[in-house]
Symmetry: C2
Subunit: 385 residues, 2 copies
């Protein structure tokens, strides 16, 4: 077993969760989010694509039910000692096996918190879970309980977040060195992701966003690469990822002479990002950060070109997305605290003129404000080679 | 809009689904699997990390409900014309908006097939969906309906699968050129994934598996890279990915002199893979392929070192996994057909001696058997540089 955190750190995390469970009067938790399992025990896998669950009882005991392919994965990467296996078969009933496991650990008639809001628990499996536990125990939706605890990072986590920030900057440098007329997007993507792997980093929680020409207006990954034109725009969103901790960045780089519209949008994006940065501080809400962004954008007459959200928390995330709660959207009351890692992305997409301009940076919330984790100049990247 | 398939191809796919819906007496489908949306319309995004759904009515009309970040993504990548947006807010109710959309399209009191078994529909959102549609329409679990259609590939799909196969071989070559004493796993990963990006390929549906020394016994990705020792073993599982179509391979490569146990396990793995290949043919079941694998493994006294599954179907898959049904496990009655793409992986993990040996190849099921899509020699890779 090789863990990325000290035993003391894992003990602290478990105790924080046990306290939150006691407050909610939960006798146990059934976790389905890989993020929760990684945070609590180190268990590191994409095995959540199948049915699996981590139990934590109020007595502090962990137990994992998973498939045979993840037995050694749990042994090598986590502190979980009690690992049980369900087997694929036409008539396999892993939800019943989970109930039996919980019974074995004294969970009959218990009040059990369940992470229903989890990619690791599809709606189909959720129904089977409910059926298997019907009359056996009370299942209570405890989605978000661990997310809330995970949002504030410890010193040990911040160490990895800083590494992720450095890898994000390495990837940015690799991109800037390559971007130019005639260059293939695929080469840029290889260089960016390669810089992160070579630096000991991980796959990101979602694909890097890369799109040029009209597709620079997209803010998701899509299949199909192209070569950059002599005058072009390319939107990139990426994250340095280390021990699954993310530090994200976003830029729209210009090849050849920028259009006036690029410069107008960039100026608004920079002002909006600065306004967000001024509000990323303890005591401010996620909604206030969004409002700061919207005020600048809308003041520049760009209301129809911005999105309904302008960033989110980052942490140790698994696929399909590196986005963690809280998100910067209108009225979100979640209060920022020191130790939170927040990504602010200014996304401007003018479909009429097919002009894109994006700018994003990651910040660590500190006692008196924030500290940039991806410190690169806020200048429009123009490559006229 | 730039589609990766012809209009005729998309028409054929829609008609196949409409026929299957008619057979199941469904008036409409609510799809939550990104794979279904991509296959039917081209819609290419990781936006399924949030609530979104694609409607197909028995009248052949599509409509998508998604977030603002995916509006242009749907416009640029899919043939969907009716795109509706729900907005993030503390009190947002996208499931009700979905019901209103379906009402608008004539779906009141309809019998609607729902993809409940989908990463895009968490158990929490499934409950909200059921509540929103209660008394409005009948929701019927139609998980797997599109998966079943997707399993058999068309000529247009096989074109991309072949590209994926070539990219898998390119990645293999990049790895073999690098593997040796003192080499960092991160450099190997960068070279393999880089070969695929440079060739116009995509991120895989799950992370490549890379692990050496004791961690060569793992068959999932984990964070944390190391350098290879003078005598070492490294297990790699990867997929060439093109237009999201996968062709997977697996090898355990040896650095320095192999142990006798490596050679024993390799010989069994090769025989088992050959036995599977002899059974990957039209009319055979997925269970028969598994049985062929198990017979060889168990005949060599390796029953406790093999897994309970030895492969699966491959296609256009999104995160968190590239695995598609059917899977090769005991008794699986799914019958193989021409046009199916099947990955067979022989995984032997001897924990006692900490010896790993894996071998995997992808096959296209043809009219009279199969054709290897990742044709590389079945020899033990030994690098004694």
């Amino acid at each position: 077993m090789s863990l990325h955190f000290t035993t003391l750190e894992f003990e602290r995390r478990k105790n924080r969760l046990l306290a939150a469970m006691a407050e909610r009067q939960l006798d146990g938790m059934l976790m389905f989010q890989q993020e929760s399992m990684y945070w609590l025990t180190g268990y590191d896998t994409f095995g959540f694509c199948f049915f699996q669950s981590l139990w934590l009882g109020a007595d502090g005991r962990f137990a994992l039910l998973t498939r045979s392919a993840d037995l050694r994965q749990a042994q090598h990467t986590s502190l979980i000692e009690d690992i049980r296996i369900w087997r694929d078969a036409a008539d396999s009933t892993p939800q019943q096996q989970l109930r039996d496991m919980v019974a074995d650990l004294g969970g009959a008639h218990a009040r059990i918190g369940v992470e229903y809001d989890s990619y690791g628990l599809t709606a189909a499996n959720g129904r089977k879970l409910d059926a298997a536990f019907d009359g056996f125990a009370i299942l209570d939706d405890a989605s978000g309980l661990v997310d809330y605890l995970r949002a504030v990072k410890s010193e040990e986590e911040i160490f990895y977040v800083r590494k992720a920030g450095q890898l994000a900057l390495d990837a940015r440098q690799a991109a800037i060195e390559l971007i130019g007329a005639g260059v293939d997007e695929g080469d840029i993507l290889a260089a960016m992701q390669g810089a992160i792997f070579k630096g000991g980093g991980d796959y990101p929680g979602n694909e890097f966003i890369i799109g040029s020409a009209r597709d620079a207006l997209l803010c998701r990954y899509k299949s199909g690469r192209r070569r950059l034109d002599a005058r072009d725009q390319i939107t990139l969103e990426w994250a340095g990822t280390y021990r699954h901790y993310h530090a994200a960045m976003m830029e729209t780089a210009i090849v050849g002479r920028p259009r006036d519209r690029h410069i107008d949008l960039f100026n608004a994006a920079r002002l909006a990002l600065e306004a967000c940065a001024a509000n990323i501080a303890p005591g401010r809400t996620a909604g206030e950060v969004f409002a700061a962004h919207a005020q600048v954008m809308d003041g520049h007459g760009l209301a129809e070109h911005r999105l309904a959200a302008c960033g989110y928390s980052l942490g140790a995330k698994f696929t399909p997305s590196w986005m963690d709660p809280p998100m910067f959207y209108e009225g979100n009351p979640w209060v920022l605290e020191p130790g939170m890692v927040m990504f602010a992305h200014m996304i401007l997409m003018d479909s009429e003129t097919e002009t894109a301009m994006c700018l994003g940076r990651t910040f660590l919330v500190t006692i008196n404000g924030n500290e940039p984790l991806t410190g690169a100049p806020l200048d429009l990247i123009v490559n006229s080679r």
